[in-house]
Structure formats: structure tokens, C-alpha cells
Symmetry: C2
Subunit: 231 residues, 2 copies
């Protein structure tokens, strides 16, 4: 049975913008696994496993379900140890956890303020009421006021990415000589922005921008083919 990944989608069912789903898809592709995605609007997530499922990605693997992108990567690593590593041991798991938390606290708030209204507009029609009310509660104001726009915050994003840039000054990948899940964590976050905004708003000479392009080429150019919203 093919692996099945529940993947957040927009009104355009081919528009996939969840950072966490991108992390899981890149981890599956990294292990060379065939999988199909199930396009899932926000408000349909609860139907996948009533009483439990609150977010995607969710992986269905031989009838069992794995929730959460990091758990999915750990599950794939344990199941497919003979394939290219995603972590390379417990030290690598700890390093990835650090970067996951850093991305959540340092990158996600900036990106959310770049695109929150655009996410609303791209979301499935049935999702927009839920999305607006939950995000306006979180942000404390209307989406139209909360979104400052990409141009206004591009400098903040470039600055927040400094640890990535500095690591890439000495290494091909955040994982060192080869890409690891830690690369897909940051890549997934930037694909969230890119899918909604249409492009990554970094200077072309920025080492982070060229690393992002190399990520798009990984695993048969899997992510490069993904539809983006027009900028």
C-alpha cells in the first residue's frame, strides 16, 4: 500500500503551503519513498481521526497513523535506516529539535506578519471564517492590519536567517556534507512563504537564497514543481 500523507491545501487544491507538511514531504522524498498526498483544508483535518487529529501532516503507513512532522521524520528514520539518514544519530535529533524551536520562535512570527491575509485569501473558501477568527485572536487585530507585507519585513527575515547564513558559510547544507531533516525544517518554513508569496524575498546573492534553490533541486526537483500563488 502506498504511503499517504494528509497535506494542507488551499482553494486551489494543488496549492500546498503548510511548512510542516513540506518538512514531511521532503523527508519522505529524501528516503526515496513513493507517497500520495491527500489535499486537506484546515476545517477537514478533524475528520481524519475524530477526537485526535488537530493538525497536518498526518502520515498513514500500513494502517497506522503518525502525527506531527518531526514524529514523521523520526518514524521514517527508524523504519528506513538503510536509506539516506535524516538525523544521523541522537545528536542529530537534538540539533534538529533546536532548529525546529528556533524556526518556530524566530522565523514564523515574521513570516506570519508577511502573509497572513494572503493565506486567508488562498485558503479554501470553507476555511476562511475559521482561519480569520483563529488568527485574529492570536494576533490581536484584523488580518488586514496584522499583515505588514513582504516588502516591509524582508529585512527582518534576512536578519533572522543569520544563523542559517553563517552555517552555510562553512557547509554545503545545514546538515553538513549532505542535507538532513534540519535542512527540511528551514526549507519547509521558507516554502510556506514562497508558496503564498510566489517567490523567496531574499537578495539573489544571499547564501540562504542559493541554498534554497539547491533544496528545490533535491529529490528529483520534487518541490520545484509545486504550484505557487502568483506574487
Amino acid at each position: 500500500m502506498a504511503l499517504k500523507l494528509y497535506d494542507l491545501c488551499g482553494q486551489d487544491r494543488d496549492l500546498r503551503f503548510s511548512p510542516y507538511c513540506w518538512r514531511a514531504k521532503m523527508a519522505l522524498a529524501h528516503k526515496g519513498l513513493a507517497f500520495e498526498t491527500v489535499p486537506t483544508p484546515f476545517t477537514r483535518i478533524k475528520e481524519i481521526e475524530p477526537g485526535r487529529a488537530k493538525s497536518v501532516p498526518i502520515l498513514e503507513d500500513e494502517g497506522g497513523r503518525v502525527h506531527d512532522s518531526f514524529e514523521i521524520a523520526l518514524h521514517l528514520e527508524a523504519t528506513w535506516l538503510d536509506r539516506p539518514p535524516l538525523f544521523g544519530g541522537e545528536a542529530g535529533v537534538a540539533a534538529a529539535r533546536f532548529v525546529e524551536s528556533w524556526a518556530f520562535t524566530s522565523l514564523h512570527p515574521v513570516i506570519l506578519r508577511m502573509i497572513v491575509k494572503d493565506i486567508h485569501d488562498a485558503a479554501a473558501e470553507e476555511d476562511r471564517g475559521y482561519f480569520r477568527s483563529s488568527r485574529e485572536t492570536r494576533l490581536g487585530r484584523p488580518l488586514e492590519e496584522a499583515q505588514q507585507g513582504v516588502a516591509a519585513l524582508a529585512g527582518d527575515l534576512a536578519k533572522a536567517l543569520e544563523p542559517v547564513r553563517r552555517t552555510l558559510a562553512g557547509h554545503a547544507w545545514l546538515g553538513g556534507p549532505e542535507p538532513l531533516f534540519v535542512d527540511y525544517i528551514v526549507f519547509g518554513t521558507l516554502m510556506w512563504l514562497t508558496a503564498i508569496h510566489g517567490r523567496l524575498p531574499l537578495e539573489p546573492g544571499d547564501a540562504v537564497a542559493s541554498w534554497f534553490e539547491r533544496c528545490l533541486d533535491l529529490n528529483g526537483g520534487f518541490a520545484r514543481q509545486a504550484p505557487r500563488r502568483a506574487a
Copy 2:
């Protein structure tokens, strides 16, 4: 010949507060190496190797000198591969570089505003003019105004440490099952604050605080014995 480490000191020659020197000393102790430190005021660093030496730590090893705490750790790892690892391979080096840059951009500015005037007061008398003018230029105001104090910023520090806290929720050390240089990077930064302030201003129940205590116990309790300034 014993290894020799040039180590920043205060007016009290036993007060050692440089975060970078603490990283190097912990790396040396981790490898089980005997070493002596050379207490060095800021303004004497340039005499170590005129025309080159601009900062400490500097390690003297068999007549050769290694500058910069990260370079020292890499040098020790390459020289003493049979001793406990500091990185555990290139992926670990990349992970440590990420955390080094994160600490520099996310922790150091907060801590500097906590203690910059206190560092001045603890510095060697001959260093105080240099320290004041260089830091006032960097901060754009008098040290007396720049220092907001530990109490005012303890919440910011606790918040900035979230990626450390989250990693420690699933791992004994930032390096995973055993401490690695990545632990000493963050530890060194917090020893800077602790040496000057007298104690680490985190809630006792904070996982970061208990990890810090365990770091103090490492390598024969080496860092626990270090003099601190009275709070």
C-alpha cells in the same frame, strides 16, 4: 609542555568571564587535557602576537597558536580523536556553528545590556578606558544608560533560551546523549553572565537552569570552582 590558554581576566586576576574563553576551557577539560591559563586583560591581548592577536582565547599547543574558541575546539577534535568527541562528525560541526551564531545574535545582545556596566567595573583598571569607549561606541550611549540590569531583562533572557529549553525537553544535553561543544557554546555564554552577576537569573524549575548546574559538574566540577563576582 603543558597547553597554555590565554584567558581574559578582570582586576581580580582570578575572575574569568569571557564566554569564548569558557567555551575553550570546557573543550580542553572535555578532552581530559591538562592546561594552564594565562590571565590576560583586554588591553594586553595585542602583546600575545603583535599584529595578529585581537581577541582571546588563544591556545598555545607545542609552540603553535590557535585563535578563536571554535577553531580551538576543531583543533582539539582533530588532534585528540581518540578522546570523547566534541562534534561527532561534520554534521555536528554544522550544528555547532548554527548554535554559535544563534547565541551571538539572540543571547549576547540581551546579556550585554544586563551587565555591560558591571563588566566595566570588574575589568582590570588598565582596561576600563578601552572597554568604556569601545562599548559606548557599539551601544550608542553611556554604559550607565545602556545597562538595564539583570532583573529588567531576565524575562527576555528566559524567552530567548526557548530553543535550548525545548531541546532539553527530549535530550539530556544539547549534544544529545552526551555533552558536546554545542553545550559549551551556550554554557560559555551563560558563564559570562554568571561570573559577572554572581548567579544565573533563571527560575530554579527551568530546565535550562538544571542543565547549567549539570554543566558545572562536568569534567570534575571544573567550572563550579571558578570565582564569581558577588551579586
